[in-house]
């Protein structure tokens, strides 16, 4: 089967690249072995929250020159990065995802544990604040579903109280939840979101919340709404009539799942073929070029294309694999930047920077893959599988995924 471009990996970077290429008139296929990390996102995109030495970043675009030359942002160049950054909102808006935030300045969000996270843009219902010292209101009513342990009302309340908001916590018992609990099974965000997709159930819940309201000026709810239809969010806000903030839950993340589904639809509606639940297994390389790849499901049917994009993600998605002695890229066996001494992969303190998060596939300045020291002419690399950055410590994973994908799409389109 022949395509113009084949993208291996259906996560944030693969989808953004695919949508960009389809818009540019190219026929693409995405091969995706299972769902991706977007399903666990915080509901926000981080662009660059910390420099490589740990300094906090408030203006990410201005901070790029401080990054070393191996960083994907450095390779792409601050001028192009800025240009793409400006386009992010409209790109996602066309896919049905509303992003809030300022593309030149970082903002802050409340996390599921009530911490305050320096991030860039938030999706849809997740709220952002321009500075760390924000106050959500004078009095807040935090409402949870009874029996739902993944929305940590205590932690959130404590955090808001430290910022000067008095909090009252209530929990609502829903018959539909009781049904869900007949046999103790996991009560995860998605199960609840599906119940809340039902108009009757949602209306019942919201009217109960309304009846609990006393003299509070802000309501805080878990982000478990609008899985199928984003408009539910605005309907809820309208119905409650006062300021309503949604805070994320423990994963899976509803805004993340929704974003994933919308991006996939956008890609397919633009004419792309999404091969879900399929894993790229073998490749055919010759003369420094990729000719075809072979997948688990398609067997000996070759997937051929002029260009290939590796968007396989990091360890979570098996884009990188670790054995006791080495870290490698399993599909093409591309050159990977890692430390030979395993002891250096980890910091004994869990919350410190972990070096292994910074390893990845080596690329040249055009983000083309490098194998045996030589660039592979028609194989580009995007997203978290890239080397040169520590996506968690710097909190630049989403930003790099989006920007590198747009950059590579443009390169393939000859722009």
């Amino acid at each position: 089967m022949k395509f113009d471009t084949i993208i291996i990996g259906g996560g944030l970077s693969g989808l953004v690249c695919g949508i960009s290429l389809q818009k540019g008139g190219r026929k693409c296929a995405i091969v995706s072995a299972g769902q991706n990390a977007l399903n666990f996102s915080s509901g926000s995109f981080g662009f660059l929250s910390r420099l490589q030495d740990g300094t906090e970043v408030t203006e990410p675009l201005k901070a790029i020159p401080s990054l070393n030359e191996e960083h994907p942002y450095s390779k792409i160049g601050v001028e192009k990065v800025s240009r793409y950054a400006k386009n992010v909102k409209s790109f996602f808006s066309e896919c049905g995802i509303s992003l809030y935030g300022d593309d030149t300045k970082n903002s802050y969000m409340i996390t599921p544990t009530g911490n305050v996270k320096n991030t860039w843009m938030a999706m849809d219902e997740i709220c952002l604040f321009p500075s760390k010292d924000f106050k959500v209101g004078d009095k807040a009513l935090i409402v949870n579903m009874q029996g739902y342990l993944d929305f940590n009302t205590q932690f959130i309340a404590s955090s808001l109280e430290n910022k000067g908001t008095a909090c009252r916590i209530e929990s609502v018992k829903l018959d539909s939840m009781e049904r869900l609990r007949k046999n103790p099974s996991e009560m995860r965000a998605v199960n609840i979101a599906r119940v809340m997709d039902n108009e009757q159930e949602r209306t019942k819940f919201i009217s109960t919340v309304k009846s609990l309201l006393a003299d509070e000026d802000v309501i805080i709810l878990p982000a478990v709404f609008g899985l199928k239809d984003k408009d539910d969010i605005s309907k809820i806000k309208a119905s409650l009539g006062i300021k309503t903030l949604f805070v994320g839950t423990m994963p899976p993340s509803i805004p993340g799942v929704r974003a994933q589904m919308l991006l996939k639809s956008a890609f397919e509606e633009a004419g792309g073929s999404f091969l879900i639940g399929d894993e790229a297994k073998n490749v055919a390389l010759s003369d420094g070029r990729v000719n075809a790849i072979y997948t688990e499901n398609l067997g000996n049917v070759a997937l051929e294309a002029d260009n290939f994009v590796l968007a396989t993600g990091s360890f979570f998605s098996k884009g990188l694999v670790a054995t006791p002695n080495r870290i490698y890229e399993p599909l093409f066996d591309l050159d990977v930047d890692f430390d030979e001494d395993r002891n250096n992969w980890y910091d004994p303190k869990f919350f410190n920077k972990q070096n292994y998060m910074g390893y990845g596939v080596i690329t040249d300045s055009s983000l083309k893959a490098v194998k045996g020291g030589k660039s592979v002419d028609n194989l580009y690399v995007v997203g978290s599988v890239l080397s040169g950055m520590n996506s968690l410590y710097e909190y630049c994973g989403s930003g790099v995924s989006i920007i590198s994908a747009m950059f590579v799409a443009d390169s393939i389109l000859g722009r």
């Binding site: 911490n115 993944d150 404590s158 018992k173 609990r181 103790p184 423990m250 993340s253």
Partner: protein, 534 residues
């Protein structure tokens, strides 16, 4: 308000202290047990979980072996819910000396251990994970034991018979009157207060830290801290214990325990200072993996869950200060006779599974010194939770259609499971999905079982001990703890500590799936939760 006077004070909340406390309490003594951290934080919580048949010592130390087999059979009766009667094999690999097997089997029989030489093919049929190249096998009545459950049961029973248990309380000094110990000065780490407690007799059951306790009292016990490292594999690869039939050496026992199996162990002399913060080295990991794969080849491709290490409280023979002549048996020291110090005895050495006998010896001496004529009944009195009946029988006794979580609770608590509330929605919520621990069980542990933090909770409920190593349950538990103790900041700090503690056991073996899991967990806690922000 507790009265500060007791019949006996026991220092150390490991299995030895717990067993001694129980024995004394069952004889009607007013007991105070003091533990500086949580129960089972020393060697008790860091061993193999092997219920020895004693076979391992039969050739070199018949007395130790006979002691073991007697206790083995007693524990199988009084601690049913803590013990898994798996039986065990001693296998001979081609590189081992097959002649040793006959000597071994004979020595076992002479010690009262039912050792049966079995055809290698039959052994493999019974335990398919065994190395197919074995040339010999002997079947023995080994088993596995859950040390947390065992320790907790003893403490619960001691309390039920009037004992007072103080956790997070450290003995910082003794109250002495010339040559007699009158009591102890205790620092409560939670409140910060120091209090004095009095008793005519104090028992030093502090494991390797007994060396320090003895020093505080003014006497010396030569101890030899021997570190042992172990690896936990992600699932129960074998259902029968696999040992190597040769002179005891490193990494030659693979023990199935609950949902996992454990390979161990090593032996390295470490300084006392290191005993409070043990790390597993890459060399130790290497050794354990290689030797383990010789017992069961499938281990070479089985996911490793975590690595941990503990320190054996070995006692040097009294007249050998170099510490090389190690006594492996139970050591009961009457400091009045040995050092001229009244009111103080030490019980140490021994093994996890001879704890009851150690408790008996110690309690016997305590009673003798106090002039109390009461006999030991611990060998015939079942521990709370130890119930007759299989998992199915006990589950069905309490619930008509037991859910998976209820079955799991019975698996952990035995007949005490009926005390866990499953009455409403909230109780049923699953806190730990890997090990099926409900919110009801967690709340009860927080409420009734002296839980101060998440690590304590883990010891009592297995929360965080599954393959996810606390990924999700840690946060949920922190929420419950925060509600119960009405303190969010502490709960959050505790959550950080818990994640660090889990990570400590993961990074020595963080490759493959364990690295994927760690990456995911770190993304969730630092990336999504933002808990790395200062």
């Amino acid at each position: 308000m507790i009265n500060n006077e007791f019949d006996v004070i026991i220092v150390g909340g490991g299995i030895t202290g717990a067993g001694t406390a129980r024995d004394c309490a069952l004889r009607g003594l007013k007991v105070l047990l003091i533990e500086r951290h949580d129960i089972a934080t020393g060697a008790t919580g860091r061993n193999h979980g092997l219920l020895h048949s004693g076979a391992r010592y039969a050739v070199t130390d018949k007395d130790s072996a006979s002691e073991c087999i007697k206790e083995n059979m007693i524990l199988k009766k009084i601690a049913r819910h803590c013990v898994d009667d798996t039986s065990g094999f001693f296998i001979t690999l081609p590189e081992d000396d097959l002649d040793y097997q006959a000597k071994f089997a004979k020595a076992c029989q002479e010690s009262g251990i039912n050792a049966e030489i079995v055809d290698p093919k039959e052994a493999i049929r019974q335990e398919p994970s065994i190395n197919p190249s074995i040339i010999g096998a002997v079947r023995v009545p080994d088993g596995s034991v859950d040390p947390f459950r065992l320790c907790l049961s003893n403490i619960v029973d001691a309390k039920a018979h009037g004992a007072t248990v103080l956790l997070y309380s450290e003995v910082i000094d003794f109250i002495k009157e010339s040559d007699t110990i009158k009591g102890v000065k205790v620092l409560d780490h939670v409140s910060g207060q120091t209090t004095g407690y009095y008793a005519p007799l104090t028992v030093n059951a502090a494991g390797i830290w007994g060396h320090h306790i003895a020093e505080l009292a003014g006497v010396t016990i030569g101890m030899f801290p021997a570190k042992g490292a172990l690896l936990i594999f992600a699932h129960r690869v074998n259902s029968i214990v696999i040992n190597r039939c040769r002179k005891p050496a490193n990494a030659d026992i693979l023990v199935p325990g609950d949902t996992v199996c454990v390979i161990g162990t090593t032996s390295t002399h470490v300084p006392f200072e290191e005993c409070d913060d043990m790390h597993v080295t890459p060399d130790e990991v290497d050794l354990l993996m290689k030797e383990g794969a010789k017992l069961a080849p499938v281990l070479a491709s089985t996911r490793i869950l975590r690595a941990y290490a503990g320190v054996r409280p070995l006692v040097s023979a009294d007249n050998d200060p170099s510490g090389r002549n190690i006594s492996r048996g139970i050591v009961l020291l009457d400091h009045e006779k040995r050092d001229g110090l009244k009111g103080f005895i030490s019980i140490t050495g021994g093994k996890l599974m001879t704890y009851r006998l150690m408790g008996e010896w110690a309690a016997d001496l305590v009673c003798k010194k106090l002039g109390i004529d009461k006999k030991c009944v611990t060998a015939v009195t079942p521990l709370p939770g130890s119930e007759t009946g299989s998992l199915e029988e006990v589950s069905k006794k309490f619930w008509t259609n037991p859910t998976t979580a209820q079955k799991a609770t019975v698996g952990r608590l035995g007949d005490q499971a009926s005390k866990v509330s499953f009455s409403d929605l909230y109780d049923h919520s699953l806190v730990c999905e890997c090990e099926e621990v409900s919110a009801g069980e967690v709340n009860r542990a927080i409420d009734k079982l002296d839980v101060h933090n998440l690590v304590d909770l883990r010891r009592r409920t297995r929360v965080g001990m599954g393959t996810c190593q606390g990924e999700l349950c840690a946060c949920r538990s922190a929420g419950l703890l925060s509600k119960a103790h009405n303190c969010t900041d502490k709960a959050k700090e505790d959550l950080s500590k818990f994640m660090n503690e889990r990570w400590k056991g993961m990074y020595p073996i963080a490759w493959g799936e364990t690295l994927r899991e760690s990456a995911y967990t770190q993304w969730v806690y630092s990336g999504v939760f933002g808990m790395d922000e200062k």
